[in-house]
């Protein structure tokens, strides 16, 4: 597969769907999971989050569409700016944020409903009832997610009866159906076989002309294959001299164009991690 064409960030003209993560700290109760994260996610580009397990990739990703609000005790300090507004401002409704910033999860999680109802679920939430309109949305979303040809004769079939890879594409179709501007993907291929993984990767490269995509992955090759930008996170730890208590938190080490980060990493830590010399 061809690496996606790289562009100089300063050459991007309008950036309506860019996301600026500014000085973000995220807490679970009193535990600070990540500290001082600053990332400029570019409009209609694929950004990848990589880093060791527990460094807070999912935490940051889920903060972008306020999914962390669902975790009791989770809280964010700092700002995430989207379309000129702080997503954590008092006037922002998280329900609308999640409609505009969709999410695909690690484990394919179709609803226990038919394929049709899975895709139509989001539009129906928004109050669309007209059958013809729904049919159209379902068809175009499934086509966009490269699933249409496989299921077009079987739309009544349960979404759960599809293969893992098909389920994940169904979840992508379901996300697209509410016309979000950004799609967040948390290790979308980690439960899939190589062929399905390749299909999802191809799909991402197709979708990026219309959507800003952020993907968390443990797969370096995947990050290199699909992403334009890569953020590398790592775990920091301090030991309290007096109590001997060990404190850990995740931090952003480096955010760069993908080819640069992998070929000429600015930090030694990054170089160690991507060459497999981590830990």
């Amino acid at each position: 597969m061809m690496p996606n064409t790289q562009t100089n960030p300063s050459a991007i003209p309008a950036r309506p769907n860019a996301i600026e993560i500014k000085k973000v700290d995220i807490y679970y109760g009193s535990y600070r999971a990540v500290h001082d994260v600053n990332i400029d996610i570019h409009d209609r580009k694929i950004s990848a989050f990589i880093g060791p397990s527990g460094c807070g990739k999912s935490t940051v990703l889920r903060a972008i569409n306020r999914m962390n609000d669902l975790v009791i005790g989770a809280r964010l300090e700092g700002e995430i700016i989207f379309q000129g507004r702080n997503l954590y401002g008092a006037d922002i409704d998280p329900v609308e944020v999640r409609r505009r910033i969709g999410m695909v999860f690690q484990k394919p999680n179709p609803f226990p409903k038919s394929i049709y109802d899975n895709v139509a679920y989001g539009p129906r939430l928004l109050g669309i009832k007209d059958k013809a309109t729904l049919d159209e949305i379902v068809e175009s979303s499934l086509k966009r997610a490269a699933l249409w040809d496989e299921v077009k004769n079987d739309l009544k079939k349960s979404g759960m009866a599809l293969s893992g890879g098909q389920q994940q594409r169904l979840c992508i179709a379901r996300t697209i159906a509410v016309e979000p501007e950004v799609i967040l993907m948390d290790e979308p291929c980690s439960a899939l076989d190589p062929i399905s993984t390749q299909r999802i990767e191809e799909l991402m490269l197709e979708l990026v002309d219309q959507y800003t995509i952020v993907i968390v992955t443990h797969n370096m090759q995947q990050a290199q294959r699909v992403s334009d930008y890569t953020a590398f996170f790592s775990i920091r730890r301090t030991e309290d001299e007096a109590t001997g208590k060990d404190t850990r938190w995740g931090e952003l080490v480096e955010f760069e164009q993908t080819d640069q980060l992998f070929s000429r990493p600015a930090k030694k830590e990054t170089a160690d991690y991507i060459s497999g010399r981590f830990g």
Partner: protein, 444 residues
């Protein structure tokens, strides 16, 4: 086997562990067998009491009244028999079977209003008091013939004309194994004239009201009372219980008040039911009597709802909690509000568990007697409940009452009533199971 890895810490004790497993398996199996045997014994004893020979006596034989069997006669012909044989009892029969007004107002109310059914035009304006002369019986016979079914009229004839009395009853086993002895004993006993094989579970039992005489006693109002009571209890407790469960699981924040609420709900499930009766008496019957009209079905249903709410809430909460979080996340991730997620994903997925809770609750409610006696269910109710505010009677109470009657034949009637109660329970639970299975199969 034992020589595979038989050294050191890996010393094989497979044989010992397997023996132990087999022992436990046998113990569990025997408890199951014991439970099944006990259940079968229970069913057997109920059925044994419900069918069997009865020795009856009667003053007049049916053949003396008509050359055809009574069951084949038209209602008007049966009414004529009643008119000829028992003219003086017809007023009471009309009042007991057709009156639409309280007993004390019946004689002074025009028949048009006083009768529950069709009244011929020429009688419509008359009151029973106007009919006290010779014209009365003929008029009442017309009313009976027009408004009662053949079966009801035959029952009236049996009781009032033939004066059928059950003198002695035998169980099914006795009837099958000791036929000769029973026949001999009936022949030898003076007032026992006939021996018939009798089913205590019959049409009369299901439709008639309670009575001091076992030949007349039925469970009609009690069956209707139990049925309406259960329907209303479900209608009240299901939405309340599921609502409370949704609040506690999905909306409630972790707080002292909510934790207190949770603990209390769990403890309430263990409170003896009579306490609920006392509560129902003070709250629903007395304090809220302007709504519930006192000792009404509504009061009973509210009390039973309190009784089964903890069961429904606890089961519904467990069902809600068992809904995978991936479904919640998927729904929220698409921009669903909390209520959309709850109503479109979580509740449908939890429905089977909710219905299981309902089945458990209803099964408990259907057999409850104590709180309802406190509330004021009585056995002497002779009218069918016609509104949520009617006084009422319930089956378990009738069963209890009959089984403690001195007349041994009431024990047979009581067994028949138990069968009716069990069948009712079975029907209601089958309905719930049907909906549960449909909910499960909808989860494609």
């Amino acid at each position: 086997m034992s020589n595979l890895v038989d050294v050191g810490v890996y010393r094989s004790d497979v044989i010992r562990r397997n023996t132990r497993a087999r022992w436990m398996q046998n113990i569990y199996f025997s408890t199951l067998i014991i439970a099944i045997i006990v259940l079968l014994l229970l069913l057997f004893s109920i059925i044994n009491q419900t069918f069997g020979y009865v020795a009856i006596s009667q003053e007049i034989k049916a053949e003396q009244l008509s050359d055809r069997p009574l069951a084949e006669l038209q209602p008007t012909e049966l009414a004529t028999i009643l008119l000829e044989q028992t003219p003086r009892l017809l007023l009471v029969m009309v009042r007991d079977n057709l009156s639409a007004v309280p007993v004390d107002q019946f004689t002074s109310t025009p028949l048009r209003d006083g009768i529950n059914g069709t009244v011929p035009d020429d009688l419509a304006d008359l009151t029973p008091r106007d009919l006290s002369g010779d014209t009365g019986p003929a008029a009442y016979a017309r009313l009976l013939g027009d408004n009662l079914s053949s079966a009801q009229l035959v029952a009236l004839i049996e009781v009032n004309v033939l004066k059928v009395e059950i003198e002695q009853s035998w169980t099914l086993v006795e009837s099958l194994t000791q036929r000769e002895e029973i026949e001999a004993s009936v022949a030898a006993t003076e007032d026992q004239e006939d021996l018939v094989f009798y089913s205590w579970l019959n049409n009369r039992l299901l439709t008639q009201r309670n009575s001091q005489r076992v030949e007349e006693a039925g469970i009609g109002p009690a069956l209707a009372g139990t049925f309406y009571l259960l329907i209303m209890t479900v209608a009240i407790s299901l939405p309340l219980g599921v609502g409370a469960a949704i609040y506690l699981e999905e909306y409630a924040q972790e707080s002292f008040l909510n934790r207190l609420l949770e603990t209390n709900i769990r403890n309430l499930a263990g409170v003896p039911s009579i306490i609920y009766g006392m509560l129902g008496l003070t709250v629903f019957v007395n304090t809220l009597s302007f709504i519930t009209q006192g000792r009404s079905i509504l009061s009973g249903a509210l009390t039973l709802s309190l009784l089964i709410l903890p069961i429904i809430i606890t089961n519904s909460r467990e069902a809600l909690r068992a809904v995978p979080s991936t479904i919640r996340e998927a729904s929220y991730g698409l921009g669903a509000t909390k209520w959309q997620t709850v109503s479109r994903q979580i509740l449908p997925a939890a429905l089977p568990g909710v219905l299981t809770g309902l089945i458990l609750g209803v099964s408990r409610a259907i057999g409850e007697t104590a709180p309802l006696i406190v509330i004021g269910a009585t056995n002497s109710i002779s009218t069918f409940p016609d509104s949520p505010f009617s006084r009422f009677s319930v089956l378990p109470f009738t069963i209890y009452n009959w089984s403690s009657q001195p007349d041994a034949a009431f024990k047979n009637a009581s067994s028949a009533a138990i069968i009716v109660l069990l069948v009712l329970l079975l029907i209601i639970n089958s309905a719930a199971i049907f909906f549960r299975n449909r909910a499960i199969s909808k989860r494609v």
